[in-house]
Subunit: 429 residues, 2 copies
Amino acid sequence: MRTRPLKVALLGCGVVGSEVARIMTTHADDLAARIGAPVELAGVAVRRPDRVREGVPAELVTTDATALVKRGDIDVVVEVIGGIEPARTLITTAFEHGASVVSANKALLAQDGAALHAAAEEHGRDLYYEAAVAGAIPLIRPLRESLAGDKVNRVLGIVNGTTNFILDKMDSTGAGYQEALDEATALGYAEADPTADVEGFDAAAKAAILAGIAFHTRVRLDDVYREGMTEVTAADFASAKEMGCTIKLLAICERARDGASVTARVHPAMIPLSHPLASVRGAYNAVFVESEAAGQLMFYGPGAGGSPTASAVLGDLVAVCRNRLSGTTGPGESAYAALPVSPMGDVVTRYHISLDVADKPGVLAQVATVFAEHGVSIDTVRQQGKDGEASLVVVTHRASDAALSGTVEALRKLDTVRGVASIMRVEGE
Amino acid sequence: MRTRPLKVALLGCGVVGSEVARIMTTHADDLAARIGAPVELAGVAVRRPDRVREGVPAELVTTDATALVKRGDIDVVVEVIGGIEPARTLITTAFEHGASVVSANKALLAQDGAALHAAAEEHGRDLYYEAAVAGAIPLIRPLRESLAGDKVNRVLGIVNGTTNFILDKMDSTGAGYQEALDEATALGYAEADPTADVEGFDAAAKAAILAGIAFHTRVRLDDVYREGMTEVTAADFASAKEMGCTIKLLAICERARDGASVTARVHPAMIPLSHPLASVRGAYNAVFVESEAAGQLMFYGPGAGGSPTASAVLGDLVAVCRNRLSGTTGPGESAYAALPVSPMGDVVTRYHISLDVADKPGVLAQVATVFAEHGVSIDTVRQQGKDGEASLVVVTHRASDAALSGTVEALRKLDTVRGVASIMRVEGE
């Protein structure tokens, strides 16, 4: 074993960073044995130096992150600050000064992954980011390496623990969205401002990263269709149950059937209870992968939290350190397929639509005609009447999102349709 | 990209081998893009050259596997023959002649993994074998690389599809073992001689490999306690249901609570229906991993079959080819922890025991005394009497397997105990 240690700079020492520092200290011998050389925490950049950080020697703490990454003797920079700046500039600077980078920064990777990969390659360094998607769940490495000889056709993931906790709570207790959100907030599963989670921004960033790796194609955050889950109601869950389904907020990355394009999207969807993703409870994450040769795979685990995220960061740290010792780099960006990313209108799936309609003869015929005119084939329809009002629940066969949108627009114009109570995509069948 | 191709020799061209050859041809451009150089199938060694192999050029087929691996221009040997010999000698010869090796051979890896790793290291070559455990499910790579910065405490796996199919069938239909086995055989899930599967030999080989990687310790096949599932009855499933459990054949690799030793075992066990492994249906495999920082992870997918296994082989092939291009090797054997492997008697778990007893007063007191004398604490006990006969169902708290064995031996000597109907371990709680 080499005795001269590899030097690690840690940017950020919050929930994840402090856990990374702790494990680097407590498990130093194991890490050294697995890497083939000791690793030394050479500096820790923080914003608030006065905050006590247990287990992090005070002399390592600095507020000057730029100076730390410019030192020139740093082998690996671990970036767990999050956000776009200053993380982006610090990572680029790290490459320029000879360091490899391990990052947990989904927002930055989703927005600027291509540029960061290019910077890593220009300087012959590694950029690893297993922790950026689904916390501790090994996902980037399996997709990028284990399935490197296969063709991934679809990735279907529960990649946000907050929203899964809320939806699971609604499903199991019959609670409404707000009540379930309040409980998630009280338990620390949701932040004071839950927008990034409940509106799907967090999941969309992960979808962009996953789609890029799965399809060997650059997928930008802007390419990802995004719909939050704040409109999901207890009535939707009741409808889902009647269908033998539950509702999950899914990140879905798909190759078109002709293989010539891909799509990426985030929205709530019904999935059958028999689907492995349906039983993913609480704040857990899981990603279901369908590939040509391997078939159906699922990866399950905690999607967030200090320790799980630190586990993913440290796995990357070991890999990057090994690469440095052997003077090589791991697989970089693979975007050779360069497939076009189609808009949401091109997505083909099934739909569950609830309509409030007038309770009189001929309504079903009118509604069915509108579906037919837009080329959307109906699988089942169920009428329910009560107190002069009635509802129609229509489940379609596979149709494009554009055709479905056209259908709904036309339905709204019918006198007999008083309202479109809900539209929910049906996935995982 | 390098234009000179990397040369691959394929040993074995059965269900897996022919699929590897097919994908290498049909996906040649993708493989080349992902590796950074084209790969060329340079030779295919088979036993029966007269058999037609679609898509494999006749001029590549040879019966002289030894000459093929000795050619000297082979970059990677893919071994999908299975069994100990000639696979072992061919792999060793391959290393001696400069090739890296990708193998799907669980029996060989479990028996001679250490020697093969040593041979690979001596010659500076790679030995990859993702396909040896749980088919297409990325497992070796996540354990060896993604969790390299973590401490794995337990691996709990359904790693044999045949037995999971049989047990799932028994669970869902109430069928007995023989009936379920017959159906598995008819559907092609069980071989004509199902011994390797139903007696747990196949799962034991996988347990040895998983334990070795998880604990950075050499675990030999002989170190793995093995118990098949041919004795599991419909009555056991009924008991399991009353407990809110199902029964699975599990491969369990555990670090002792004090961290100073490890165990590996294969046996049927009750697991709670709420456990993610409980919902693994049919011939699917899944492996549940508990680690210190990451927490609970699960990897799920098809555990066998030509295409899934080929997917795993090709993922390794891409990795090994990349390593060759960059003049390095991936992580080799990691056995630095060298923890002792404890015998089955040291394993601590819970037990579900069904006793046929005389239907008269005082029996429960006698039985409870025997448990107490052996230091096995009872969690619940349930008495059922019918037609002068009675049964006692005892569920224990955690106890060592040695203490439980002593208890059962003593119970058998009681006049009032007519028989021990079943003993089943309870896991995953």
